[in-house]
Subunit: 353 residues, 2 copies
């Protein structure tokens, strides 16, 4: 019955009509789903592991320890300046793997789609995912599509999970901060959160805000090659922003962290938007930035590596791990003040990723 | 501020009140989310890989090739006779790995929760997931929680992905059927779909219908140990049912498949419910059954292995791969008739998993 397909390969559910939207049957396990897979997902994501179309992807044995991570994305709206839910979902999971010291290899993608979602928007999103995966030398090898009735989901949610192979020998992470370590930040904070917020209904402040969504695999790999064991922790400050990451680090390692506010890069338009809305950039989500905790004697070398990458051109040394109340993050202000940076309790901006 | 926690460890968002539901802040990346993770997810799923609470889980190098799979679950309702969305999500991904000839090792779990979802129901579901994972000797090593505003999701969606290590040397799957192979089925079909359907609004036929949700890891491993390369394909007939699996097999391997209707086990209550609703059990989802394609000379040995497992006690040889139109699945009826079993186009029962 392949002659029922229209020119683009999408099946017409009603003769004479072309409902270019996702239908319940696209999540059914039947022929409609097979067609969606072959005409959309497989066309964009194609690789031998995915194309086998078995229940799971059979992959080569990786040469080393694995790193494994998952994230669901419910960002609202789906499209925003600088990206969309698709590249956000791919970059986000790639970054989670990189922050553990891994080289990302394989990704999975699970779609939950609201009935009636436009197929051309889905294709744009899938295209962005394919580009993002390719850009980071990763393959999307396993996928799943579910469709829920109209009104039962907010357009589209995507889950990505990822597998990487560990590229470091030393232990690294939130528990490994030491007194004297330097805190580096790869660039200005708050771009993603404020760019998404700028697109929301009733918050139409127009500006040049753009999400920083990007894959950090090259920068993190270069840093670990150059500084090795001197790197004590890496983290991308997403939900909860820089404040959440540093509070988690300080608590996990039982150390104090002191920041210099003047050193923390914030774009003027982000600072202005935060000011208007009563938000603090320290708590706003980023999707292409990296916090680096590094032994002081390698801090300058690490900063040079970050600045040598286009994504880290504006990197700064923003603070240090020091004696003081274990678990406390504080900040020196430019005018000589000092304040505690609390762990956020909730989030000023829900559904930011 | 830990004294703000109530006795059970759940934070009271309003002094004096105990809103035992999921709030937007539980998905925020802040303290509310940390508390949800430690008091619920970590408490039930605890293992050293998850407990590190880094962006990804760092795992030992597996001894062999990997199998990797993902699935999202949007089943409606969340609780049904025989299980809930939690064990369904864990068993489903475990089964996907097993059907590729893998031993499941690690799972991820991503939750998308509607604001206002009762925490006690979430705990029941998480508890079921933990039990199911333990039962199959797997660890949930990575997780993620997102909360969306009320009305923007239908209560709860769960994505699971899983990693297994390949336990076979030979190629197996939908492309590997050969003429003469026997088709085995591990037990009666339609239980899951009809059990879920029985719980839906306006379809309150009460009965003894129960979902068959179960992990097939022991049965598939025993089968592969006993019959090795004689096993040409394994598949769990979920969405689209037995008909979808066999049509996919017949097309991928360019062979015909002939079934004997009298040999296909269907419980009387499932047959009766299907009859009333005009449904065909061949197209109804299962969540604890296995289709086995095996070389004819090992068919009896394979059947014996299936029947030796409690989940396969009612296993039957239901048909064979034969000459005939490539891609065609047909069935001989008990009265001497013969009919084509088409690939389902859509699905009579959406949101069944």
């Amino acid at each position: 019955m392949d002659d029922e397909l229209d020119a683009s390969g999408w099946r017409c559910a009603l003769p004479g009509a072309a409902p270019r939207t996702v239908q319940m049957g696209h999540g059914s396990g039947g022929r409609m789903m097979s067609e969606l897979i072959s005409t959309l997902f497989q066309r964009h994501f194609s690789n031998p592991f995915l194309d086998a179309l078995d229940d799971g992807a059979t992959l080569p044995a990786p040469a080393g320890r694995l790193v494994y991570s998952t994230d669901s994305y419910v960002v609202d709206p789906l499209f925003f300046p600088g990206g969309n839910i698709g590249d956000l979902a791919v970059n986000g999971t790639i970054n989670d793997l990189c922050m553990c010291g891994a080289t990302p290899l394989y990704l999975s993608a699970g779609f939950i789609i609201e009935e009636g979602f436009p197929l051309d928007e889905l294709e744009q999103i899938v295209h962005s995912m394919a580009e993002a995966a390719r850009g980071a030398n990763t393959l999307i090898v396993s996928g799943d599509t579910k469709v829920v009735d109209k009104g039962k989901a907010d357009r589209l949610f995507i889950n990505t999970s990822g597998i990487g192979v560990l590229s470091i020998q030393h232990a690294m992470g939130s528990h490994h901060l030491r007194r004297g370590d330097a805190i580096l930040l790869s660039g200005p904070i708050g771009d993603h959160g404020m760019a998404v917020l700028s697109q929301r209904q009733d918050l139409g402040f127009s500006s040049t805000l753009r999400s920083d969504t990007a894959a950090l695999h090259e920068m993190s790999a270069a840093l670990l090659r150059a500084c090795g064991e001197a790197v004590h922790a890496l983290r991308d400050p997403t939900r909860g922003g820089l404040a959440a990451v540093l509070n988690e680090f300080a608590r996990a390692s039982h150390v104090a962290i002191e920041l210099q506010e003047a050193a923390i890069p914030v774009r003027p338009q982000v600072a202005a938007a935060c000011d208007v809305l009563g938000l603090d950039p320290l708590y706003i989500a980023n999707e292409g930035k990296m916090v680096v905790v590094v032994a002081a004697e390698r801090a300058q070398a690490a900063l040079d590596v970050l600045r040598g990458d286009p994504l880290g051109a504006a990197a700064e040394r923003i603070g240090e791990v020091c004696a003081g109340n274990p678990g406390q993050v504080s900040m020196h202000t430019p005018l000589g003040g000092w304040r505690i940076i609390d762990q956020p309790y909730s989030d000023p901006l829900p559904r930011i990723c």
